[in-house]
Structures are given as C-alpha cells and as structure tokens.
Symmetry: C2
Subunit: 375 residues, 2 copies
C-alpha cells in the first residue's frame, strides 16, 4: 500500500523533565569544536581497541583453520594468502558503546570486554552475509571475503562468527551472561528482519515503500545492534532492567540518527570530509530514508523523482535532478530534522538510565562521533 | 598430501570390561526382527514429535513475518504462498536423541524439550545454508527454500533460525541452559568446519583427499550434532561432565556409522528400501568415505577409479565400473567394517554414561534406526 503524505517536520519530542533538549558535552558550557570531539572519540576508540582486540583476535584464532583464514582476512589481519596484514579492522564503535555504557553505570569496563567482543563478532557476521546478499565487492578498501574466497566460504565464516559470539557469552561465568546472550540473539533476529526488508524493498517500485516501513527497516538493520551494544554494557554493569532498556533505546535512536545522516551523505556527499561520492545512493537506486520521504510526499517533485527512479539514472544530469527533486519534495529537510529529533530522543533515553548525564560523557562522545561523521 | 595405504579392516576396538561388543536390544536375548525395531523407532519418533512440535512451531511462528514465511515453508508447514501444508517436517531424530538421552539418565524428558527444539532449529539452519552452498534444489521431495525464495531469503532465514535456537537456550531458566548453549555453539562451529571441508574436497583431485581428512569431515558434518543432541539430553538430566562427554561420544560415533551406511547406499542403493538411486553419489563425483578409502588404497582398482573420477562418469557403464572399482579396492568392505566398529565404539561410550544399558533402550533403538535405515 502506498502512502501519500507530505513529510511533516516531526515535532521535536517534548523531552521529559529530566532530559536536555540536545546532547551537550558534559561538564562544559559550550560544546567543544567538532575536531576536538572527533579527537576525543578517536582516543576513546583507540582505548577500546586496546582492551578488546586481544580477546577478539584470540577468539577468531580459535576457529578451525579454513574458517579462521577467511575471518582473519575479513578483519584485515591477514592477506588472502595468509601473510600478516595491518589493514583497518573497523573502528570498534559497537565495542566502544558496550564499554562506555558499562562505565556510565559504574560498571567495570574490563568485566564487559567479552560482551564487547561478542557484539563485534555479531556485527562482522552481518557484514560477511550482507556483502554476499548485496553482492558488494568492496569493504574497507579491500575486496570482500566472498569476492576473494567465494560465496560458500563467506557464508560459512559468517555462520561460525555468529556461533563464536554466542559461545563467548555462553562460556562466560558472569551472572549477566545469560541475559546478554538472550538480548544478542533477539537482536540478531531483528538484524535479519532488517536485512530481509532491505532486500525486499529493492524489488518494489519507487512508490511502493512507505516511510514507516523504511524507518522500521533502518531501526532493525542499524539501530538494533547499537542498542544491543549499550544494553549489554548496562547488563555487565549489573544495571536493572529499566536502565538496560533505556540504554537500548539510547543506542537504537542514535543508530537511526546515524542512518539518516548516512543517507544524506549518500545523496549530497560528506559535508566534513567526502567519503562517498555525491549521488552514490541515487545511482544505485537506493530507497534510502530521505528518498522514501520525498517519494511519499505527494508533491509534484515526488512524481518527478519516481519517474527518475524508474529509469536508469546514470548521467550526472539525471542524478543532479534526482537530488534536487528529493530536496524540493522536502526529503532533505525531513531527514535533517528527523536526525536531530532522534538524537534528542536518544539523550532522553540516556537520561533515564544515567540521570547525571555528566557521567555518560563517553557515550555522548561516541553518539556525536557516529552521527556527525567528523572522522 | 596423498596417502597410499590399503584400507585395513579396522580391528574392532576392544570394548572395555563394561561394554558389550555389539548393540543389543535391552532386556531380550535375541534382538527383535528389523521390522519390529523400525516400528519401535517410529513410535518413539512419533512421541518425540508430539512433545517437540508444538514448541518448535511456536518458536518458528515467533520469527518476524517475512522470515517466518521462509521457515514455515522449509519445515513443510506451509506452501510457498503461505497456505497451510502438512508436508513432512523431518523425522525428529535429533530431538529424539535429546529426549532419549535425558530419559536414559533418569531425567525428565519434558524438561529437555526446549533443548530438543534448539537442536532441531540448529539442524535446520544447516540444511537451509547447505542447500544454498551445495546448490541443491530438492529436499524432502519439495523445492529447497532458496530455489523458491532466492538465496538472500534462504541465507537470512538460516541465520535467524540459528539465533532463535540460541535465544531459546539463553532464555531458559534451567540451570543446564548455559552449558547447553556453550555446547551447541561449539557444535555449530564444528558443523561449519565440516561443511567447509566438504566444499573444499570438491575442488580437489580424486587422489588429493586423505581418508583421515574425510573421516574428520564426516565426524564434523554429521557426528557432531548427533553427539551434541545426546550431550544436551544428558545436561538436562543433570548429569555430570563425564556422562555428558560419554553421551556426546555415543551420538558422534553413531553419527559416523550412519554416514558410512549412507555413503554405501549412495553407491549400491538401499538394501532395505531403495531411497537413493543406485550410483547417485558416483554420478555426482562425491568423495564419500568408501570412495576415498578406495582411492587411497594403493591398489590397481584405485587408479582405475581415479581415472573414472577425473572424467564425466555419466553413462550407466561407467558408473557400474566405478562401483566395481570401489569394491575391488576394498572400499565397500572397509566401510561396512568401519560402520560396525563405530557402532561398537558408540555403545562403549554409552555404557560409560549408562552402565545399565537396559535403561538406554530408546537410545539404542534410535541408533539402530539411523544406521540400519529400516525406514
């Protein structure tokens, strides 16, 4: 069913009495300049990797030989022929969230390292399978695992990585491990639903995907694991269920904000540092959030955009017209306002888990880092 | 590396003092005739399905809509269009082993039902992914899930099924659940290694796979989950680690015996009721256990078989000559003796877990059922 509605600038959700209207750098009257925040996040992530990488690597090295080879390549620790490599193994955003959430709730981050490793393994399981499913040939500036080792080996390595994540939690004597394991499993099912919906959208016409469906998909595909990371940190800090759920809400909303910004960058390029080429998502006919908001706006620009999406859209002129149509249909404004709204909701959730937000500085730094993309 | 050795009829392993030399129907001087044993197993499996199916179905129905659709089709509960179906959902051998192992150790089978469901979900996760990887288009007389829904949906449904298996155990308040979850995860990694090895063998020449590699592969791919099923039953009966390991050994060895028999059937057909066409595995150039035993025998027949395996082998004459070569090279005898030896080892393990084998009647019935294929 099609919905035709003008994208309404969402009313910023009235924050609770205890919630600030926007994320603020704790303990400072003015937020530090972006570059400084970026550096602060880099320091945090560097510290995260120092704590997490040894256990992550030990876990991956425990896999049977032939699977280990694919996994070591995927993480950038080895070349395809098995020679050591120091390629980028990912930024460790999710492990960073696990440890920061534990710290914000007076937990010992060291106790939560195993959970952080499990979350990173689950994340990389999705990358391995998504690359197969989406037929993506490049990740982190290298050929994807399936492009190097074939589809069977990449699917099997993903399967083993998911089982390894679960084994780490199941073997953890920490009293939090069973609830963490249940949360991670539930999250993986949601990730699967998100990936399935994403695939299904590709087979549908430009006006056949509703904005609600698209938001649900993005929440499942991106928000769920960021939420789970924060929730596991809370569990390993011994937090009660209410705080665990609030932490999940924080990560989930921050994840959706991140997705909205990422979708804007997919059309207009990175305002800070150009990572993706301008218009990349349009050339790929991606039904990203700003695009679907525009397509379902009921405006004349929506019809124009739909016509472009039904065509090949491979000339710079067409791509530029499509970006312009998204903007005129209100998709760009909607996504920007929605991203800000989601960040406000994220902070509102966070303030329920950590009433003194001054103690959640690391979490806010990481959330800013992923949404402002100052990296 | 190639190994060239005559397949030695393995000396049946000297059973321990407490182990019988061959599985015997407990409480009877003479084993009942095959047909009666088969019926007994059918009754057992019917009772298993009555206990397990409601929870299995409820679990699958808890999956998100689009994934549920694929899963319901895979289990034979729905047609591709979502209409109800009463297709065969599998024999429930693995859940049967979980419950029978619990019962043999004085456990309450009802307590172990959730573990039985988890094992069946993990088994079906492997079926979904293996069918994609092996490009198999038919299972249980119906098109496979990927052939109906496409590769992405089948991979995603398999992923979700594995996560669901883990969620059931993680949410189980039973004190056995953490150890069960760890065992299942470890088993899934072994299953992955087995499937990976199986794929890798296909790319190697007929004389480049050793019998040891082939036995390790079959143990990982078939024995590991049968062993895990028995071990989980033991855990849910509150058994100590020694008995849990012995139960794992029983299922593992019985699984290998099953694989050997299945491989013989793949060449010479089913002696009881013809399920597979004669020579099916030869036409497919499958490097099954009797074939690898023959290929690595160092006999003139081995060279003849290798030459046939390097060719197309698609005429009845060639297939018949290959089967004959396997037999002359000693592959058929080796597999038969090895299967009997593995069953003896299985019973030896079982007698360590259940010294009074009269109490393990159901387990022996199921083991006979899978290895004698009287169904």
């Amino acid at each position: 069913m099609k919905t035709h509605h003008a994208p309404q600038p969402p009313t910023p959700r009235p924050p609770g009495d205890d919630a600030p209207v926007a994320p603020a750098a704790p303990g400072a009257d003015d937020p530090p300049p972006l570059a400084a925040q970026g550096q602060e996040a880099e320091v945090l992530l560097e510290a995260t990797r120092a704590l997490v990488d040894p256990q992550l690597r030990a876990a991956v090295e425990s896999l049977p030989g032939s699977i280990r080879r694919v996994a070591m390549y995927h993480f950038g620790w080895q070349e395809a022929d098995g020679t050591p490599s120091s390629g980028p193994a990912g930024k460790a955003i999710r492990p960073g969230l696990v440890l920061a959430a534990a710290r914000a709730l007076d937990g010992d981050p060291v106790r939560a390292v195993r959970a952080a490793v499990a979350v990173e393994l689950a994340h990389n399981f999705t990358l391995l399978h998504d690359d197969v499913i989406d037929e993506d040939r490049t990740r982190r500036h290298r050929p994807t695992a399936w492009a190097v080792f074939g589809i069977p080996d990449a699917v099997i390595a993903g399967d083993a990585m998911l089982a390894l994540a679960q084994r780490l939690l199941a073997e953890d004597p920490d009293p939090a491990s069973a609830r963490a394991s249940a949360r991670l499993s539930t999250c993986v099912i949601e990730l699967c639903a998100g990936q399935q919906a994403d695939c299904a959208f590709e087979d549908r016409g430009p006006e056949e995907v509703t904005l609600d469906e698209c938001l649900t998909m993005a929440t499942a595909k991106t928000g769920a694991l960021l939420g789970c990371a924060c929730a596991l940190g809370a569990l390993y800090a011994g937090a009660e269920e209410r705080a665990v759920r609030a932490m999940d809400g924080f990560g989930r909303e921050a994840g959706l904000a991140f997705q909205l910004i990422d979708d804007l960058i997919g059309i207009w390029g990175d305002p800070v540092r150009t990572g993706k080429p301008v218009g990349a998502d349009l050339v790929a006919h991606k039904k990203s959030l700003p695009v679907v908001a525009a397509l379902t706006s009921g405006t004349p620009a929506a019809a124009e955009l739909a016509a472009l999406y039904r065509g090949s859209m491979n000339t710079p002129g067409e791509v530029s017209r499509a970006a312009d149509a998204v903007e005129r249909a209100g998709g760009r404004d909607w996504a920007q306002i929605c991203a800000a709204d989601r960040m406000a909701r994220a902070v509102s959730h966070l303030s329920r888990a950590v009433p003194d937000l001054g103690r959640a500085g690391d979490l806010l730094t990481l959330a800013e880092f992923v949404t402002r993309r100052t990296h």
